[in-house]
């Protein structure tokens, strides 16, 4: 089946719409989680949400909604534990994660539906979502997006410096809980695409990729959202256009594509950072009297803009760096700086 035919199939169109919204929303929340050094929080919420899905399967209600409720409760619990600052807070989080996962598998067993029905939520099944699911996905993702972008100044400030934010009159607790709830909502929205066990990847990996090349928060947020959307659309299309007979799951493909983006970007980022460090201006000497004047020995090489040596600004002139020396042009010779 060629790609054009594929796009005309209704289930594929629904999947594409869901992929766009989730690809944008997950990294938007993820940026704030990474900023708070809570990159694994999405993973933790994902584990807790498994219990929510299982409760839905057991009671015969929509697993999406039970997952939203349980994930929000779990996220708020994580935030409370974090705020209390218990010394072994990470252990408390681990208890919550494993409790969520074990509880989910246990309850699914009680429901008698077996592991197969849970699998779709654990690893995603984007091509099976129906029209109602797409609308729920769009609405929830849109709420997440509007909040993350619209309240960006407040959320940024609270994560950057809590004390300052409090003195600026912000309710720090409200914004902390808000981020936790947004994270929980995006986890449950994204569970249909990439699955609960991989959802954290879609929240974190595009952010890690974006910040290889960005210097500002806004730049990171925007490019993470674009990268997330490219990964989720691209992964879905890649999986769908796999040759007949092979079984390529969209969820893992999306995550692997996002990771590939990081692998490609990281060396560029490392190179840029190194270059920036090497060419950062040397601070001008603050002393009142000039340092002793030291000529270089006989210098066979003429330094210039294209001489191949790194040129670094130093106060009002340029130093050329080579072999551990800094040579500054002075009349007909060079000075050691």
């Amino acid at each position: 089946m060629n790609p054009i035919d594929l796009l005309s199939l209704p289930f594929m169109q629904r999947a594409l719409i869901a992929a766009v919204f989730i690809g944008l929303a997950a990294p938007a929340v993820g940026t704030y989680l990474v900023q708070r050094r809570l990159a694994l929080m999405g993973d933790g919420i994902g584990h807790v949400a498994v219990t929510g899905v299982a409760l839905g399967l057991l009671t015969g209600t929509s697993p999406t909604w039970t997952a939203v409720v349980v994930a929000v409760l779990g996220a708020v619990a994580i935030e409370v534990i974090r705020e209390r600052g218990a010394t072994n807070g990470d252990v408390a989080l681990a208890l919550l994660f494993y409790g969520g996962l074990a509880g989910g598998v246990f309850i699914t067993g009680l429901a008698g539906t077996g592991a197969a029905s849970l699998q779709g939520y654990l690893f995603g099944s984007i091509t099976t979502i129906d029209a109602a699911d797409v609308i729920v996905t769009m609405v929830l993702a849109a709420i997440v997006l509007v909040t993350c972008v619209g309240l960006a100044p407040q959320l940024f400030a609270v994560a950057q410096d809590q004390d300052f934010a409090r003195v600026a009159g912000l309710s720090v607790r409200f914004y902390n809980v808000l981020i936790a709830v947004l994270a929980a909502v995006s986890v449950t929205v994204a569970m249909r695409t990439v699955g609960l066990l991989l959802v954290s990847a879609l929240m974190v990996v595009p952010v890690a990729t974006a910040q290889q090349l960005t210097r500002s928060f806004r730049g990171t947020l925007t490019s993470a959202m674009v990268l997330g959307m490219i990964a989720s659309l691209g992964g879905l299309l890649l999986a769908a256009s796999a040759p007949a007979g092979t079984n390529v799951a969209p969820g893992p493909t999306i995550v692997l594509l996002a990771l590939a983006g990081f692998v490609v970007t990281w060396p560029i980022g490392a190179w840029l950072r190194r270059r920036q460090r090497l060419t950062a201006p040397f601070p001008a000497d603050p002393g009142d009297s000039p340092l002793d004047h030291v000529d270089t020995a006989e210098h066979p090489h003429v330094h210039g803009p294209d001489c191949g040596h790194i040129a670094v600004r130093h106060g009002d002139h340029v130093d050329y760096v080579h072999d551990g020396h800094r040579h500054a042009p002075h009349d007909e010779h060079y000075d050691e700086h």
Partner: protein, 259 residues
């Protein structure tokens, strides 16, 4: 005219242990007050209590004539915390950090106004970092980062500026830049309260010094400049008697000259 800050018989405890006791402190509009004292004397705790970050266990605090419980004019206060040690997980530009200082003026879900942008640019100008606005904050030196935090507080155009150890770990060049900034603010009539271990270049600006020792105020009055005393650049607070019998020394008169 009401005092900007009025703390009456204030006590602060951290985790149940009393740190500050019996503090009476009034700051009048236009004061440039230095909170001084040895490590552990409660200087930073007092500043945090004045911002409301630490609750009083006893006593009462009024800001701009309003009791702290009902205070909500947060945009009148600018707070400069001690430089955070750990960088955040996502890069942020200098401009973005300073822009956070406008939060007190901004309404939810609204973009920056023209006035916001002007205030941000001016704050960066005052601390002399306008040319670094687009750089990542982590690329700046410690002293420059401290100046960014001051610019953030200035962007909110506060009437009262509270600074927690702005000169700690900052070299002399940056301390002079800081003194120039605070001098500008003082001329504009801002009220400034800062915690300092040593005044250094700030000395000529300080109109009043409050010395804490072991959580109590042991001296409150004009800073004593000592003329003609050699080696006058070390402040020996640790040696000051609690009874105020010793002349508390601040700094030489020439020290604060900028460039």
């Amino acid at each position: 005219m009401t005092d900007v800050v009025r703390l009456t018989d204030g006590a602060v405890a951290i985790d149940g242990r009393p740190v500050l006791r019996g503090i009476n402190l009034s700051v009048a509009s236009g004061d440039f007050l230095a909170l001084m004292g040895p490590n552990g004397s409660g200087k930073s705790t007092l500043v945090k209590a004045l911002t409301g970050l630490l609750p009083l266990t006893l006593g009462s605090l009024e800001l701009f004539g309003t009791d702290m419980d009902h205070f909500d004019a947060w945009s009148r206060i600018g707070y400069v915390p001690q430089r955070p040690g750990a960088a955040s997980g996502v890069p942020a530009s200098v401009w973005e950090v300073v822009a956070a200082g406008r939060l007190g003026q901004r309404r939810l879900f609204r973009p920056l106004t023209r006035a916001d942008r002007l205030a941000i640019d001016e704050a960066l100008e005052i601390v002399g970092l306008a040319h670094r606005a687009r750089d990542g904050i982590s690329r700046l030196s410690g002293g420059q980062q401290q100046r960014v935090l001051i610019a953030r507080a200035l962007a909110g155009e506060p009437e009262l500026l509270l600074l927690d150890e702005p000169t700690a770990g900052v070299d002399l060049t940056n301390q002079r830049a800081l003194a120039a900034t605070l001098g500008t603010l003082k001329q504009r009539g801002s009220t400034i309260v800062l915690v300092a271990h040593e005044l250094g270049p700030l000395a000529p600006l300080v109109s009043r010094a409050v010395v804490l020792r072991d959580g109590r105020v042991v001296r409150d009055g004009e800073p004593l400049a000592d003329h003609g005393v050699p080696h006058a650049h070390h402040d020996q607070w640790e040696d000051a008697d609690g009874d105020g019998g010793h002349a508390v020394r601040l700094s030489g008169p020439l020290e604060g000259r900028t460039q």
